[in-house]
Protein backbone atom coordinates (compact mmCIF):
# COMPACT_ATOMS: atom_id res chain seq x y z
CA UNK A 1 0.00 0.00 0.00
CA UNK A 2 2.83 2.35 0.85
CA UNK A 3 4.28 1.84 -2.62
CA UNK A 4 0.97 2.73 -4.28
CA UNK A 5 0.62 5.82 -2.19
CA UNK A 6 4.15 6.80 -2.95
CA UNK A 7 3.54 6.40 -6.69
CA UNK A 8 0.39 8.49 -6.37
CA UNK A 9 2.25 11.14 -4.45
CA UNK A 10 4.99 11.27 -7.06
CA UNK A 11 2.39 11.66 -9.81
CA UNK A 12 0.77 14.52 -7.96
CA UNK A 13 4.20 15.95 -7.44
CA UNK A 14 4.85 16.01 -11.16
CA UNK A 15 1.63 17.90 -11.73
CA UNK A 16 2.14 20.33 -8.88
CA UNK A 17 5.78 20.77 -8.08
CA UNK A 18 5.24 22.76 -4.88
CA UNK A 19 2.94 20.29 -3.15
CA UNK A 20 3.96 19.62 0.39
CA UNK A 21 5.93 22.80 0.80
CA UNK A 22 5.04 23.78 4.32
CA UNK A 23 3.62 27.13 5.17
CA UNK A 24 6.40 29.54 5.99
CA UNK A 25 9.13 27.59 4.25
CA UNK A 26 10.05 29.79 1.34
CA UNK A 27 11.21 27.84 -1.69
CA UNK A 28 14.48 28.86 -3.24
CA UNK A 29 15.03 28.08 -6.87
CA UNK A 30 13.01 25.88 -9.24
CA UNK A 31 15.21 22.81 -9.18
CA UNK A 32 15.47 22.87 -5.43
CA UNK A 33 11.71 23.26 -5.10
CA UNK A 34 11.23 20.16 -7.18
CA UNK A 35 13.72 18.22 -5.11
CA UNK A 36 12.21 19.44 -1.83
CA UNK A 37 8.69 18.74 -3.03
CA UNK A 38 9.68 15.23 -4.00
CA UNK A 39 11.11 14.60 -0.54
CA UNK A 40 8.04 16.10 1.09
CA UNK A 41 5.67 14.00 -0.98
CA UNK A 42 7.64 10.92 -0.02
CA UNK A 43 7.38 11.88 3.65
CA UNK A 44 3.65 12.48 3.41
CA UNK A 45 3.13 9.17 1.68
CA UNK A 46 5.03 7.36 4.40
CA UNK A 47 3.06 9.16 7.10
CA UNK A 48 -0.20 8.28 5.38
CA UNK A 49 0.78 4.65 5.11
CA UNK A 50 1.55 4.60 8.82
CA UNK A 51 -1.66 6.38 9.69
CA UNK A 52 -3.73 4.03 7.55
CA UNK A 53 -2.17 1.07 9.31
CA UNK A 54 -2.80 2.68 12.68
CA UNK A 55 -6.48 3.24 11.89
CA UNK A 56 -6.97 -0.21 10.44
CA UNK A 57 -5.54 -1.80 13.58
CA UNK A 58 -7.38 0.52 15.94
CA UNK A 59 -10.65 -0.38 14.22
CA UNK A 60 -10.17 -3.98 15.34
CA UNK A 61 -10.26 -2.92 18.99
CA UNK A 62 -13.51 -2.40 20.89
CA UNK A 63 -14.63 1.22 20.90
CA UNK A 64 -14.02 3.07 24.12
CA UNK A 65 -17.29 3.67 25.92
CA UNK A 66 -18.45 7.22 26.46
CA UNK A 67 -18.00 6.90 30.20
CA UNK A 68 -14.39 5.81 29.94
CA UNK A 69 -12.25 5.03 32.95
CA UNK A 70 -8.48 5.52 33.04
CA UNK A 71 -8.10 1.74 33.18
CA UNK A 72 -10.01 1.30 29.94
CA UNK A 73 -8.06 4.04 28.20
CA UNK A 74 -4.76 2.62 29.36
CA UNK A 75 -5.70 -0.89 28.24
CA UNK A 76 -6.80 0.44 24.87
CA UNK A 77 -3.48 2.25 24.42
CA UNK A 78 -1.42 -0.81 25.30
CA UNK A 79 -3.47 -3.05 23.02
CA UNK A 80 -3.08 -0.66 20.10
CA UNK A 81 0.63 -0.25 20.72
CA UNK A 82 1.05 -4.03 20.70
CA UNK A 83 -0.85 -4.41 17.44
CA UNK A 84 1.23 -1.70 15.77
CA UNK A 85 4.49 -3.14 17.10
CA UNK A 86 3.55 -6.56 15.77
CA UNK A 87 2.55 -5.21 12.37
CA UNK A 88 5.75 -3.12 12.17
CA UNK A 89 8.07 -5.60 13.80
CA UNK A 90 10.86 -4.78 11.38
CA UNK A 91 10.49 -1.02 11.69
CA UNK A 92 13.60 1.09 12.23
CA UNK A 93 14.41 4.72 12.77
CA UNK A 94 14.61 6.32 9.34
CA UNK A 95 11.65 4.46 7.88
CA UNK A 96 9.56 7.64 7.90
CA UNK A 97 12.15 10.31 8.51
CA UNK A 98 14.37 9.16 5.65
CA UNK A 99 17.86 10.56 5.19
CA UNK A 100 16.50 13.07 2.67
CA UNK A 101 13.58 14.05 4.95
CA UNK A 102 15.91 14.53 7.89
CA UNK A 103 18.10 16.85 5.85
CA UNK A 104 15.10 18.80 4.59
CA UNK A 105 13.51 19.15 8.04
CA UNK A 106 16.79 20.31 9.54
CA UNK A 107 16.99 22.93 6.84
CA UNK A 108 13.44 24.12 7.50
CA UNK A 109 14.00 24.18 11.25
CA UNK A 110 17.25 26.09 10.83
CA UNK A 111 15.23 28.90 9.24
CA UNK A 112 12.81 28.94 12.16
CA UNK A 113 15.47 28.98 14.84
CA UNK A 114 17.49 31.81 13.37
CA UNK A 115 18.12 35.05 15.29
CA UNK A 116 16.64 36.31 18.55
CA UNK A 117 13.13 35.07 17.72
CA UNK A 118 14.57 31.65 17.03
CA UNK A 119 16.34 31.71 20.37
CA UNK A 120 13.01 32.40 22.08
CA UNK A 121 11.43 29.48 20.28
CA UNK A 122 14.23 27.20 21.31
CA UNK A 123 13.95 28.38 24.90
CA UNK A 124 10.24 27.54 24.92
CA UNK A 125 10.95 24.08 23.55
CA UNK A 126 13.72 23.42 26.02
CA UNK A 127 11.61 24.58 28.98
CA UNK A 128 11.10 21.37 30.99
CA UNK A 129 12.19 19.40 27.96
CA UNK A 130 12.58 15.73 28.88
CA UNK A 131 16.21 15.82 27.72
CA UNK A 132 18.38 12.84 26.92
CA UNK A 133 16.41 9.62 27.08
CA UNK A 134 16.81 6.30 25.31
CA UNK A 135 14.27 6.08 22.48
CA UNK A 136 13.24 3.02 20.50
CA UNK A 137 10.92 2.52 17.54
CA UNK A 138 7.45 1.33 18.61
CA UNK A 139 8.41 1.78 22.27
CA UNK A 140 6.18 3.68 24.64
CA UNK A 141 6.75 7.42 24.76
CA UNK A 142 8.80 8.05 27.93
CA UNK A 143 6.48 7.94 30.92
CA UNK A 144 6.32 10.36 33.82
CA UNK A 145 8.18 13.10 31.99
CA UNK A 146 6.74 16.38 30.73
CA UNK A 147 6.13 16.85 27.04
CA UNK A 148 7.92 19.64 25.25
CA UNK A 149 5.99 22.56 23.92
CA UNK A 150 5.97 22.73 20.13
CA UNK A 151 5.40 26.38 19.23
CA UNK A 152 3.04 27.41 16.47
CA UNK A 153 5.94 28.86 14.53
CA UNK A 154 7.51 25.39 14.31
CA UNK A 155 4.25 23.67 13.46
CA UNK A 156 3.64 26.16 10.65
CA UNK A 157 6.95 25.16 9.17
CA UNK A 158 6.63 21.39 9.32
CA UNK A 159 4.13 19.42 7.25
CA UNK A 160 0.73 18.93 8.82
CA UNK A 161 0.20 15.50 10.34
CA UNK A 162 -2.92 13.36 10.58
CA UNK A 163 -4.69 13.70 13.90
CA UNK A 164 -3.26 10.50 15.36
CA UNK A 165 0.31 11.77 15.07
CA UNK A 166 2.19 14.75 16.46
CA UNK A 167 5.67 16.24 16.64
CA UNK A 168 7.48 16.57 19.97
CA UNK A 169 10.99 17.39 21.01
CA UNK A 170 12.97 15.20 23.38
CA UNK A 171 16.23 16.97 24.01
CA UNK A 172 17.28 18.22 20.58
CA UNK A 173 15.54 15.35 18.82
CA UNK A 174 12.35 15.82 16.85
CA UNK A 175 10.07 12.89 17.58
CA UNK A 176 7.12 11.60 15.61
CA UNK A 177 4.69 10.52 18.31
CA UNK A 178 1.68 8.26 17.86
CA UNK A 179 -0.82 9.88 20.19
CA UNK A 180 -3.37 7.11 20.54
CA UNK A 181 -0.84 4.34 21.03
CA UNK A 182 1.52 6.68 22.92
CA UNK A 183 4.52 5.30 21.08
CA UNK A 184 7.60 6.57 19.27
CA UNK A 185 7.30 6.24 15.51
CA UNK A 186 10.50 7.90 14.32
CA UNK A 187 13.14 10.42 15.39
CA UNK A 188 15.36 13.08 13.85
CA UNK A 189 18.58 13.52 15.81
CA UNK A 190 20.14 16.99 16.13
CA UNK A 191 17.05 18.80 14.90
CA UNK A 192 18.28 22.19 16.08
CA UNK A 193 20.83 24.06 14.01
CA UNK A 194 24.33 24.12 15.47
Amino acid sequence: MAGTLFALAVNILLLAPTIGTPQGAAPAGGQKVNADARVMADFEARVKAYSDLHRKLEATLPNLPKETTPTQISEHQVALAQLIAHARSGAQFGDIFTKETRALFRRYLARVFVGPEGAKLKAVIMDENPGKLQLHVNARYPESVPVSTVPTQVLQTLPKLPEDLEYRFIGDRLVLHDIHADTIVDVIENAFPK
Partner: protein, 308 residues
Protein backbone atom coordinates in the same frame (compact mmCIF):
# COMPACT_ATOMS: atom_id res chain seq x y z
CA UNK B 1 -13.89 51.13 27.34
CA UNK B 2 -13.50 51.10 31.07
CA UNK B 3 -12.52 48.57 33.59
CA UNK B 4 -12.90 48.81 37.29
CA UNK B 5 -10.43 46.92 39.38
CA UNK B 6 -10.55 46.85 43.10
CA UNK B 7 -7.83 45.13 44.99
CA UNK B 8 -8.01 43.66 48.41
CA UNK B 9 -4.82 43.47 50.38
CA UNK B 10 -5.22 40.36 52.37
CA UNK B 11 -4.64 40.08 56.02
CA UNK B 12 -2.84 36.81 55.94
CA UNK B 13 -4.64 35.44 58.91
CA UNK B 14 -7.98 36.93 58.06
CA UNK B 15 -10.86 34.58 57.83
CA UNK B 16 -12.16 34.73 54.33
CA UNK B 17 -15.64 35.12 52.99
CA UNK B 18 -17.96 36.54 55.53
CA UNK B 19 -20.88 35.29 53.49
CA UNK B 20 -23.62 35.88 52.73
CA UNK B 21 -23.10 39.56 52.38
CA UNK B 22 -24.74 42.48 50.70
CA UNK B 23 -23.68 43.17 47.16
CA UNK B 24 -21.50 46.06 46.16
CA UNK B 25 -18.62 45.44 48.49
CA UNK B 26 -16.07 46.94 46.16
CA UNK B 27 -13.66 48.76 48.34
CA UNK B 28 -12.06 50.93 45.74
CA UNK B 29 -12.25 51.47 42.04
CA UNK B 30 -10.38 53.28 39.30
CA UNK B 31 -10.56 53.63 35.54
CA UNK B 32 -8.80 51.00 33.51
CA UNK B 33 -6.12 49.96 33.17
CA UNK B 34 -4.65 51.13 36.47
CA UNK B 35 -5.41 49.04 39.49
CA UNK B 36 -6.44 50.98 42.55
CA UNK B 37 -4.79 49.57 45.61
CA UNK B 38 -6.85 49.21 48.68
CA UNK B 39 -5.36 50.89 51.71
CA UNK B 40 -3.38 48.50 53.89
CA UNK B 41 -5.35 46.96 56.67
CA UNK B 42 -8.72 47.08 54.96
CA UNK B 43 -10.68 43.92 54.47
CA UNK B 44 -10.44 42.01 51.23
CA UNK B 45 -13.16 42.40 48.64
CA UNK B 46 -15.77 39.81 49.50
CA UNK B 47 -17.36 37.60 46.93
CA UNK B 48 -20.96 38.81 46.89
CA UNK B 49 -22.33 35.26 46.64
CA UNK B 50 -25.38 36.50 44.80
CA UNK B 51 -28.21 34.31 43.73
CA UNK B 52 -28.05 33.57 40.01
CA UNK B 53 -24.40 34.51 39.63
CA UNK B 54 -21.85 32.15 38.10
CA UNK B 55 -19.49 30.85 40.77
CA UNK B 56 -16.39 28.96 39.77
CA UNK B 57 -12.93 27.95 40.90
CA UNK B 58 -9.58 28.04 39.12
CA UNK B 59 -6.93 25.46 39.93
CA UNK B 60 -3.56 24.72 38.38
CA UNK B 61 -0.48 22.55 38.76
CA UNK B 62 -2.04 20.45 41.45
CA UNK B 63 -1.92 16.70 40.81
CA UNK B 64 1.01 15.70 43.00
CA UNK B 65 -0.84 13.36 45.34
CA UNK B 66 1.06 14.95 48.22
CA UNK B 67 0.02 16.65 51.40
CA UNK B 68 -0.24 20.23 50.12
CA UNK B 69 -2.62 19.12 47.39
CA UNK B 70 -4.83 17.37 49.93
CA UNK B 71 -4.72 20.44 52.17
CA UNK B 72 -5.84 22.54 49.23
CA UNK B 73 -8.60 20.09 48.42
CA UNK B 74 -9.84 20.40 52.00
CA UNK B 75 -9.65 24.18 51.82
CA UNK B 76 -11.63 24.19 48.59
CA UNK B 77 -14.28 21.97 50.14
CA UNK B 78 -14.50 24.31 53.10
CA UNK B 79 -14.85 27.28 50.79
CA UNK B 80 -17.52 25.48 48.80
CA UNK B 81 -19.69 25.15 51.88
CA UNK B 82 -19.97 28.93 52.05
CA UNK B 83 -19.51 29.78 48.41
CA UNK B 84 -21.13 27.00 46.36
CA UNK B 85 -19.17 27.19 43.12
CA UNK B 86 -20.58 24.86 40.52
CA UNK B 87 -17.50 24.27 38.41
CA UNK B 88 -13.72 24.36 38.49
CA UNK B 89 -11.57 25.11 35.48
CA UNK B 90 -8.09 23.62 35.59
CA UNK B 91 -5.13 25.27 33.93
CA UNK B 92 -3.10 22.11 33.47
CA UNK B 93 -0.59 19.86 35.14
CA UNK B 94 -3.58 18.03 36.51
CA UNK B 95 -1.45 15.00 37.34
CA UNK B 96 2.28 14.72 37.84
CA UNK B 97 4.46 11.68 37.37
CA UNK B 98 2.81 8.35 36.70
CA UNK B 99 -0.75 8.54 35.44
CA UNK B 100 -2.09 5.05 35.77
CA UNK B 101 -5.63 4.31 36.96
CA UNK B 102 -4.63 4.42 40.64
CA UNK B 103 -3.03 7.83 40.15
CA UNK B 104 -6.33 9.31 39.03
CA UNK B 105 -7.70 8.30 42.40
CA UNK B 106 -4.85 9.49 44.59
CA UNK B 107 -4.02 12.63 42.61
CA UNK B 108 -7.51 13.74 41.72
CA UNK B 109 -10.54 11.84 42.94
CA UNK B 110 -9.50 11.58 46.59
CA UNK B 111 -8.22 15.13 47.15
CA UNK B 112 -11.40 16.60 45.64
CA UNK B 113 -13.79 13.91 46.82
CA UNK B 114 -15.98 16.35 48.74
CA UNK B 115 -16.32 18.65 45.75
CA UNK B 116 -17.00 15.83 43.31
CA UNK B 117 -19.60 14.39 45.68
CA UNK B 118 -21.25 17.80 45.86
CA UNK B 119 -21.62 17.76 42.07
CA UNK B 120 -18.87 20.25 41.23
CA UNK B 121 -17.74 19.68 37.66
CA UNK B 122 -14.11 20.03 36.61
CA UNK B 123 -13.31 21.26 33.10
CA UNK B 124 -9.67 20.56 32.38
CA UNK B 125 -7.10 22.01 30.10
CA UNK B 126 -3.83 20.17 29.77
CA UNK B 127 -0.30 21.09 30.78
CA UNK B 128 3.08 19.76 29.83
CA UNK B 129 3.01 17.14 32.59
CA UNK B 130 -0.34 15.72 31.57
CA UNK B 131 -0.71 12.43 29.74
CA UNK B 132 -2.89 13.72 26.99
CA UNK B 133 -4.56 10.64 25.62
CA UNK B 134 -5.77 9.41 28.99
CA UNK B 135 -6.75 12.78 30.41
CA UNK B 136 -8.71 14.07 27.46
CA UNK B 137 -10.86 10.93 27.63
CA UNK B 138 -11.18 10.90 31.42
CA UNK B 139 -14.83 11.60 32.10
CA UNK B 140 -14.29 13.65 35.24
CA UNK B 141 -12.26 16.18 33.24
CA UNK B 142 -15.18 16.78 30.87
CA UNK B 143 -13.00 17.26 27.79
CA UNK B 144 -15.05 14.94 25.62
CA UNK B 145 -11.91 13.59 23.98
CA UNK B 146 -10.80 17.02 22.82
CA UNK B 147 -7.52 18.82 23.44
CA UNK B 148 -9.21 22.19 23.09
CA UNK B 149 -12.87 23.02 23.41
CA UNK B 150 -15.29 25.67 24.57
CA UNK B 151 -18.41 25.50 26.70
CA UNK B 152 -21.12 27.83 27.79
CA UNK B 153 -21.30 28.33 31.51
CA UNK B 154 -24.49 27.11 33.17
CA UNK B 155 -25.29 30.63 34.37
CA UNK B 156 -24.68 34.19 33.23
CA UNK B 157 -23.43 35.32 29.87
CA UNK B 158 -20.14 33.41 29.92
CA UNK B 159 -18.22 31.08 27.61
CA UNK B 160 -15.00 29.34 28.59
CA UNK B 161 -12.30 28.36 26.09
CA UNK B 162 -9.98 25.56 27.21
CA UNK B 163 -6.86 25.71 25.04
CA UNK B 164 -3.90 23.46 24.44
CA UNK B 165 -0.77 25.54 24.89
CA UNK B 166 1.75 22.72 24.50
CA UNK B 167 0.75 22.06 20.89
CA UNK B 168 -0.75 25.28 19.58
CA UNK B 169 -1.00 24.30 15.96
CA UNK B 170 -2.45 26.56 13.26
CA UNK B 171 -5.68 24.53 13.28
CA UNK B 172 -6.25 25.41 16.93
CA UNK B 173 -5.75 29.08 16.26
CA UNK B 174 -8.22 28.95 13.37
CA UNK B 175 -10.70 27.14 15.59
CA UNK B 176 -10.20 29.68 18.38
CA UNK B 177 -10.82 32.63 16.11
CA UNK B 178 -13.97 31.04 14.74
CA UNK B 179 -15.23 30.24 18.24
CA UNK B 180 -14.48 33.69 19.62
CA UNK B 181 -16.05 35.33 16.62
CA UNK B 182 -19.13 33.16 16.85
CA UNK B 183 -19.55 33.53 20.59
CA UNK B 184 -22.43 35.76 21.64
CA UNK B 185 -21.46 35.65 25.27
CA UNK B 186 -20.25 38.87 26.83
CA UNK B 187 -17.62 37.11 28.91
CA UNK B 188 -15.15 35.11 26.85
CA UNK B 189 -12.70 33.43 29.19
CA UNK B 190 -9.71 31.52 27.80
CA UNK B 191 -7.72 29.26 30.06
CA UNK B 192 -4.66 27.14 29.37
CA UNK B 193 -1.36 26.12 30.87
CA UNK B 194 1.49 28.35 29.64
CA UNK B 195 1.04 31.96 30.70
CA UNK B 196 1.30 34.71 28.14
CA UNK B 197 2.44 36.93 30.99
CA UNK B 198 4.15 35.78 34.14
CA UNK B 199 6.86 37.05 36.45
CA UNK B 200 8.16 33.58 37.14
CA UNK B 201 11.91 33.32 37.39
CA UNK B 202 11.63 29.65 36.49
CA UNK B 203 9.42 29.99 33.39
CA UNK B 204 8.05 33.49 32.93
CA UNK B 205 6.05 34.81 30.01
CA UNK B 206 5.58 32.86 26.80
CA UNK B 207 6.15 35.36 23.98
CA UNK B 208 5.87 32.75 21.24
CA UNK B 209 2.30 32.12 22.36
CA UNK B 210 1.46 35.80 22.81
CA UNK B 211 2.28 36.40 19.17
CA UNK B 212 -0.33 33.88 18.15
CA UNK B 213 -3.18 34.23 20.64
CA UNK B 214 -3.03 37.70 22.17
CA UNK B 215 -4.27 39.51 19.05
CA UNK B 216 -7.38 37.34 19.14
CA UNK B 217 -7.98 38.01 22.83
CA UNK B 218 -7.70 41.74 22.22
CA UNK B 219 -9.86 41.70 19.10
CA UNK B 220 -12.69 39.66 20.56
CA UNK B 221 -13.12 41.42 23.86
CA UNK B 222 -11.48 39.03 26.30
CA UNK B 223 -11.16 40.59 29.76
CA UNK B 224 -9.46 37.90 31.83
CA UNK B 225 -7.22 34.92 31.08
CA UNK B 226 -6.21 32.10 33.43
CA UNK B 227 -3.00 30.09 33.21
CA UNK B 228 -0.56 28.12 35.37
CA UNK B 229 2.88 26.58 34.79
CA UNK B 230 4.71 28.90 37.16
CA UNK B 231 4.10 27.57 40.65
CA UNK B 232 2.71 30.59 42.41
CA UNK B 233 -0.23 32.96 42.27
CA UNK B 234 0.02 36.18 40.30
CA UNK B 235 -2.40 38.73 38.92
CA UNK B 236 -0.82 40.95 36.33
CA UNK B 237 -1.43 44.57 35.65
CA UNK B 238 -3.71 44.77 32.64
CA UNK B 239 -1.86 43.97 29.44
CA UNK B 240 -3.63 45.58 26.47
CA UNK B 241 -6.60 45.87 28.83
CA UNK B 242 -6.61 42.17 29.72
CA UNK B 243 -5.87 40.87 33.22
CA UNK B 244 -3.80 37.67 33.30
CA UNK B 245 -3.88 35.33 36.27
CA UNK B 246 -1.24 32.72 37.01
CA UNK B 247 -2.77 30.10 39.25
CA UNK B 248 -0.05 27.47 39.25
CA UNK B 249 0.19 26.61 42.93
CA UNK B 250 -2.76 24.29 43.42
CA UNK B 251 -0.44 21.57 44.73
CA UNK B 252 3.01 22.58 43.64
CA UNK B 253 4.84 25.61 44.97
CA UNK B 254 8.02 27.41 43.99
CA UNK B 255 8.67 29.67 46.91
CA UNK B 256 10.00 33.12 46.23
CA UNK B 257 9.92 32.64 42.49
CA UNK B 258 8.12 35.83 41.53
CA UNK B 259 10.55 38.25 39.98
CA UNK B 260 9.41 41.59 41.38
CA UNK B 261 11.38 43.42 38.77
CA UNK B 262 9.28 42.51 35.74
CA UNK B 263 6.83 45.32 36.29
CA UNK B 264 4.02 42.95 35.42
CA UNK B 265 2.76 42.11 38.88
CA UNK B 266 -0.28 43.70 40.34
CA UNK B 267 -0.43 41.13 43.12
CA UNK B 268 1.69 38.07 43.71
CA UNK B 269 1.77 35.33 46.30
CA UNK B 270 4.58 32.80 46.28
CA UNK B 271 4.96 31.66 49.85
CA UNK B 272 2.23 29.02 49.96
CA UNK B 273 -0.22 27.21 47.69
CA UNK B 274 -3.30 29.04 46.41
CA UNK B 275 -6.40 28.63 44.28
CA UNK B 276 -8.85 31.16 42.93
CA UNK B 277 -12.58 31.53 43.43
CA UNK B 278 -14.53 33.80 41.14
CA UNK B 279 -18.05 35.05 40.71
CA UNK B 280 -19.57 36.65 37.64
CA UNK B 281 -22.67 38.74 37.89
CA UNK B 282 -23.54 40.59 34.71
CA UNK B 283 -20.53 42.79 33.86
CA UNK B 284 -18.50 42.17 36.98
CA UNK B 285 -16.10 39.40 37.92
CA UNK B 286 -15.26 39.21 41.60
CA UNK B 287 -12.30 37.12 42.67
CA UNK B 288 -10.64 35.84 45.82
CA UNK B 289 -7.33 34.01 45.81
CA UNK B 290 -7.26 31.65 48.78
CA UNK B 291 -4.13 30.21 50.33
CA UNK B 292 -3.65 26.75 51.79
CA UNK B 293 -4.41 28.15 55.24
CA UNK B 294 -7.63 29.79 54.05
CA UNK B 295 -6.34 33.33 53.97
CA UNK B 296 -7.50 35.64 51.22
CA UNK B 297 -4.26 36.62 49.53
CA UNK B 298 -5.77 38.70 46.76
CA UNK B 299 -9.20 39.93 45.88
CA UNK B 300 -10.97 42.41 43.68
CA UNK B 301 -13.45 42.93 40.92
CA UNK B 302 -12.91 43.28 37.21
CA UNK B 303 -15.42 44.93 34.96
CA UNK B 304 -15.92 43.30 31.59
CA UNK B 305 -14.57 45.24 28.67
CA UNK B 306 -16.62 45.55 25.53
CA UNK B 307 -15.56 44.00 22.26
CA UNK B 308 -13.82 46.43 19.96
Amino acid sequence: MRRTVAIGIAGLLAAFLSLPKASGTIAASAPAPQAAAQPAGESPVDLPNREGSLKFGVLGDFGTGKRPQYDMGAQMAKAHERFPFELVITVGDNLYGSQGPRDFQTKFEEPYKALLSAGVKFYASLGNHDEREVQRNYKLFNMDGKLYYSFKAPKQNVRFFALDSTYPDPAERAWLEKELDGSNEGWKIPYFHHPLYSSGERHGSTPTLSTVWEPLFVKYGVSVVFSGHDHFYERTKPQKDIVYFVTGSGGQLRKGNIDRGTGLTSKGFDTDQAFLMAEIDRDELFFNAISRTGAVVDSGVIRRRKQE
